[in-house]
């Protein structure tokens, strides 16, 4: 029995059954069955994580094994630690979000459960597959489910526009990926990632390969919300229901980054020129710009969910810095950071949902000082913010420390400083919001010029997802929030975590062994990874980051920005105009620039 196939079929069958009979079941039963299905998927993914310990689990759908000469006939799932780990993260977050949504969403449409399970199926399949076209199709599955659910509260104008922006930009990203796949198929005649990698290996990249690479990477960067493809993320987060935001920020965005890593390592890494230092510089540059731009935008937000969304964008930049180094240590660091960040950010979003339900709004200006009653949630926010500011030795610190070190090792002296600024600003923004909402410290955010900003960015127009406020926070809402945050903190405290991630990265970056095993059944031999713990300098940077976050929060609460800063802020807000046409222009511009730079770098 193939566990990988079951891991996908279970949520699929669950979704189909839910949609067929869900309307007739009482809501609690429907919720229990959905939650059980999601939990069962998580268990299957955990089994996969365990079984992929020896390196690579390959399942060929339909029993169509590759033919002689390494020609892949069917579609395979090639499960390694990284893939199964991401799938496990996805399944766990979906289970937690479903648990949370029982009390969060008032009138659960019967389609909500099926769509969540289909979203889960898409993500799990995406992380496990080994076929490039299959990757695209699963990408579309999870995207369509996401578009539909973003428009859940479609009776308001915001969700409608957010869903449209989300749908158009991500669909265009998907088309870029598909065009890249078409070009690669034209060159290699294969769709299986291992086979394409084998065919391309050792050759020099020409225009076609470079264009295919850039299109695929940029297409997935749209999903991963890197600058300048990030504009849809804040809109979607501002309007989607909170359980969805947990999933978007926790795992969906990171899946885009996983795809970039997977496609690079299995398909393109055999071409030596593509490994050029110039390419690494381009990727690091995108990562750094995203980290800093996202951090500044995060600082400028009043709407709590948008603030957390921009924090996610900033962290995408940091993850991209780890992956963009195109070597094992950076990849391992990014993997660890992704897992810890996903859990903590999920918990923070759940906390934001609690604020929305108890206080009635998630705008820091409107909620100013009203959070005193729900002070435990305030503590949750503070802990989450400090974790993201990388308090050692907990979760996000370990990941970030490793990224900084890998960056410095790769010759990027500015990497730790960029990480420092980004994490201090984003965590500071969250701490500032915490102080304003829960303690009423500092000045209330001003009523901005109504004509300039409109009311919308402040979130005051947003109706709470129910008409009545809760008297007390249901345990079903705060329990998963605390669980996620504490789990995210605790991961590096589990023994052997460093070896686990380094080993996972090691397996993923070894293209030749991967291809040999998938196509020819060759035995797996991976060289042992080289492990080194975080250095002292990382601890220093982390302490500075935490102090910086606190300082930033205090500045935000008590000082008024000057005229020049206001103008810069206005400019940045103007870029995020909400008009999908602008987003498309930036998207194409981004691809053109990245493409041009990559072309120059490689040829």
């Amino acid at each position: 029995m193939s566990i990988a196939a079951l891991a996908i079929l279970v949520p699929i069958l669950g979704a189909v059954v839910q949609s067929a009979i869900g309307a007739k079941l009482p809501q609690t039963i429907a919720w229990i069955t959905t939650n059980t299905t999601a939990a069962a998927t998580a268990v299957l993914c955990a089994i996969l994580v365990h079984k992929s310990g020896h390196g690579l689990l390959v399942t060929w759908f339909g029993g169509w094994h590759p033919r002689s000469g390494g020609v892949a006939f069917g579609i395979d799932m090639a499960v390694d630690h990284f893939g199964s780990g991401m799938a496990l993260l996805a399944a766990s977050l979906v289970t937690a979000a479903l648990f949370y949504s029982h009390r969060y969403i008032d009138a659960v449409s019967p389609h909500y459960h099926s769509l969540m399970l289909l979203f889960l199926a898409g993500m799990v399949g995406f992380c496990l597959t080994g076929d490039l076209f299959n990757l695209f199709v699963l990408f579309e599955l999870l995207s369509v489910a996401a578009y539909a659910m973003t428009a859940y509260h479609v009776e308001e104008e915001g969700p409608l526009q957010g869903a449209i922006n989300f749908a158009i930009t991500n669909t265009l990203g998907g088309f870029m990926v598909l065009t890249g796949i078409g070009l690669l198929y034209g060159r290699t005649g294969a769709l299986n990632m291992a086979q394409i990698g084998e065919t391309l290996a050792g050759k020099a990249p020409d225009g076609l390969v470079v264009v295919a690479f850039v299109l695929i990477v940029c297409g997935f960067l749209v999903k991963a919300a890197a600058v300048p493809f990030h504009l849809w993320l804040a809109d979607a987060h501002a309007v989607a229901p909170v359980p969805l935001c947990v999933l978007f920020s926790g795992v969906m965005v990171q899946i885009g980054l996983y795809a970039i890593a997977r496609v690079y390592w299995t398909v393109f890494s055999g071409m030596p020129e593509l490994h050029a230092h110039a390419l690494v510089q381009i990727l690091m540059g995108i990562g750094g710009i995203t980290a800093l731009f996202g951090a500044v935008m995060c600082w400028l937000q009043r709407h709590l969910k948008r603030l957390l969304a921009f924090s996610t964008i900033s962290h995408t930049g940091l993850f991209l810095m780890g992956i963009g180094l195109l070597e094992g240590h950076g990849l391992a660091a990014a993997g660890l950071f992704i897992v810890c960040h996903g859990l903590v950010k999920g918990g923070l979003f759940m906390g934001a949902g609690i604020v929305g339900k108890r206080v009635g709004t998630v705008d820091t200006g409107d909620a100013f000082g009203k959070g005193r009653e729900i002070w435990p949630t305030g503590i949750l926010f503070a802990i989450g913010a400090l974790l993201l500011a990388s308090v050692p030795p907990f979760g996000p610190f370990a990941g970030k420390a490793l990224i900084e070190e890998a960056g410095q090792h790769g010759g990027f002296w500015w990497a730790p400083y960029a990480c420092l600024v980004a994490s201090a600003l984003t965590a500071g923004a969250i701490l500032r919001a915490t102080g304003q909402i829960f303690l009423g410290w500092g000045q209330a955010p001003q009523e901005e010029d109504e004509q300039e900003r409109g009311q919308e960015e402040q979130g005051s127009e947003e109706e709470p997802e129910s008409d009545s406020l809760f008297e007390t926070t249901p345990w079903m809402m705060w329990a998963p929030a605390w669980f996620l945050v504490l789990l995210g903190a605790a991961i590096p405290l589990i023994g052997g975590w460093h070896q686990w991630f380094e080993r996972a990265a090691n397996r993923m970056t070894d293209r030749a062994t991967y291809a040999g095993h998938v196509l020819h059944g060759a035995p797996l031999t991976f060289p042992p990874p080289h492990i080194s713990g975080p250095h002292t300098s990382s601890y220093v940077f982390a302490i500075f980051s935490v102090l910086g976050a606190v300082a930033v929060a205090l500045v935000g609460m008590y000082l008024k920005p000057g005229k020049v800063l206001d103008q810069i802020a206005d400019g940045m807000h103007a870029i995020h105009s909400g008009h999908v046409g602008d987003y498309v222009v930036y998207l194409v511009a981004g691809i053109a620039i990245i493409g041009g730079l990559t072309g120059l770098a490689v040829t």
Binding site: G158, A163, I164, A167, T171, L178, G454, E456, E461
Partner: protein, 114 residues
């Protein structure tokens, strides 16, 4: 001459993108999206074409006769269904926009800024 279908596919993508970016009507925008979709179909089918070959259907012909690439046709079939369904969802959103907010102009629907 040899690359004309591929260049046509690139052209379709470019004009589709222009249409989406400068559109004043949501339905027009979605249809421009279908133009971009068509560019991907054209690229895929063009890549798999063989001159002087028939369709990969062996009804009435001896198997082994020169035929075009069946894989790419299967991919395009999958692709068409996938992208048509995305279009269906977006058209439903356009219907809601028109009904509730009275306008199909993306300029007018701008509550999310900043």
């Amino acid at each position: 001459m040899n690359h004309v279908p591929y260049l046509a596919s690139a052209w379709l993508m470019l004009i589709g993108l222009y249409g989406i970016a400068t559109s004043r009507n949501l339905i027009h925008m979605v249809l421009c999206l279908t133009v971009v979709q068509s560019s991907t179909y054209l690229l895929l089918l063009g890549v798999g074409y063989r001159l002087h070959a028939t369709a990969p259907i062996y009804q009435g012909i001896v198997p082994g006769h020169r035929a075009v690439d069946p894989v790419v046709q299967a991919l395009t079939l999958t692709d068409i269904v996938v992208e048509a369904t995305v279009v269906a969802l977006m058209l439903a959103l356009a219907v809601v926009a028109h009904k509730r907010f009275g306008s199909l102009d993306p300029q007018k629907l701008r509550p999310l800024r900043g």
